[in-house]
């Protein structure tokens, strides 16, 4: 399971970065989304994957003695998903506006702000 996840995360990061390096704005957004998902999976993996051990303390004992599934990474991922949802929807709207205004999907065309004499 861990090995599968590791491969999946590597794939998500690699494809995310590859997509970001393309010149199309839409591919840039896809790249950012893939990268964000890769980071979320990474948190999940590094929180240690434990199967069938809920972090519930039974009434007889005072603390968890055995290994248990850590609930913190899941809380972190949930927060990160919500945040990235908001940011990505903003980015998609921005790309749409940029396309409307500049009439191009090519990122290399968006360089008028870098010119010395505008």
């Amino acid at each position: 399971m861990e090995l599968l996840l590791v491969m999946l995360i590597g794939l998500l990061y690699a494809s995310g970065i590859y997509m970001m390096l393309r010149r199309s704005m839409v591919k840039l957004i896809i790249g950012l989304i893939l990268l964000g998902n890769g980071a979320n999976m990474l948190i999940f993996l590094l929180g240690r994957i434990v199967k069938g051990k809920p972090p519930i303390i039974d009434s007889a004992s005072k603390m968890l003695t055995e290994i248990y599934a850590d609930p913190v990474p899941q809380a972190l991922i949930l927060t990160a998903i919500v945040i990235s949802f908001g940011l990505q929807s903003f980015a998609i709207i921005l790309v749409k506006r940029a396309y409307k205004i500049t009439a191009t999907d090519d990122l290399d065309e968006l360089n008028t702000t870098d010119e010395i004499y505008e």
Partner: protein, 507 residues
Amino acid sequence: MNNPYIVLPVIFQLFTAVLLMFFWFRVNAQRLITIICSLISVGIAIWLFNEVYNRGILTMQAGEWQAPFGITFVADIFSATMVLLTAISGMAVAVFSTGSIRNARLKFGFFPILNFLLMGLQGAFLTGDIFNLYVWFEIIIIASFVLITIGGEKAQIEGAMKYVTMNLLASAIFLTAIAILYGMAGSLNMADLSGQVAQIENRGLVNVVAILFLVGFGIKSAVFPLYFWLPASYHTPPPAISAIFGGLLTKVGVYALIRIFTLIFIPDEFLSNLLIIMAALTILSGGLGAILQVNMRKIFSYLIVCHIGFMIAGLGIYTELAILGAIFYLIHDIIVKTNLFLISGLIFKLKGTLNIEKLGGIYKKYPKYSLLIAIPLFSLVGIPPLSGFWSKLFLIEGGYLEGQYTLVGFILLGSFLTLWVIAKLWSEVFWKESVDLPKKINVKYFYELKPFKQWAMIIPIVILTVISLYIGLAAEHIIVLSKQISSELMNPSAYIEAVLGTKTDMP
């Protein structure tokens, strides 16, 4: 000491933002509320600063979940100073924007978003939990995305594309770093991490995580190879927005870098060298970039990059004296950079352009304003006894004592380049013969504004200039303060004890 009121600056900004939303289309009511609330928030920040200065580090455990299990808010003297500076520049920008920003933009919710941005900044400075820091960073960037695109001009959208992309990438890298750090140390509380990370045996992995943090925060604070988004985007929104961005958004990255690298990852030789090389190249590339530009706000954008290098240099040298210099520079820089962008807004309203080749004759026509503007410009250069001088003095002394002669050379070169740029700016904009510019229809000139709006633009510049003068002329106070901050940063045991010390035994 436990004090639940330390989150008051954050809560108050949230309250202001929500209150302003009820007056969405009534811009005059929004103007009034913003001015009043920003003054109150300065009051709260002064109270917090005073409390921390007299009583030491204050903490708040959210929901009474004791650290390191819950989210902790910590106000040490560094945080309290940053909160105070944020409140002051926030106040200046809020007052300035009541005069300078068009009603059309205000109707898109400029003031509520500005307050959300300030809330994010206050939160980032006060939090003691690394994932919580990530959340505050996200609040900052989403608010800044809205501010940078508000109005929707072509240049704004183009600048925003770069700004948004680089910030989202920085967030993804920051999140990756948090994930690996949590996997290694099993904690998110920064004070707890300080002890946990020191015990990890796999130092290679620790360095990898440290570099991931360096890249994530480095993009946000615009250090050498990662700064290209800044000059491409900071000159596109209205000047008031550039002011809050230039004054605070890059500095929150620097704050995070200083915090992380003094508390969690103590730089080893490799990291120190890396920081020093980055600092030197940041100073060089920012300074050279500024010489080339003709748009005043682009010049200031490159100077931001150049001066970020000074603070990173202080962190790279990593002695108490050098950190003192970096902190002093940070204090000076927030005030003066906010002021510079406000000044560019004023000059735009006076002349209708920011191209320094077309501008001219401002000194002849407006001698009082010119003298007012001269003070922040010269404190930026660091002409003694103005504020930039003292910080550079400590940085250079710190570098010299550690034998970092090349870095000292770069710092001097950076100061020289700044002097060159500012001298060129001064002679072009203020002393050169005035040229008659064609009147632009879509610009509302300064003399056309109502007296209230004229004052709203002048007063913040005066306030920030007075603070700059205070930092320069009463440097003793700031030195004492920076010294206390740097000694707290270099000996983080007081911070750790304040956060973890009250820990009760777990059931």
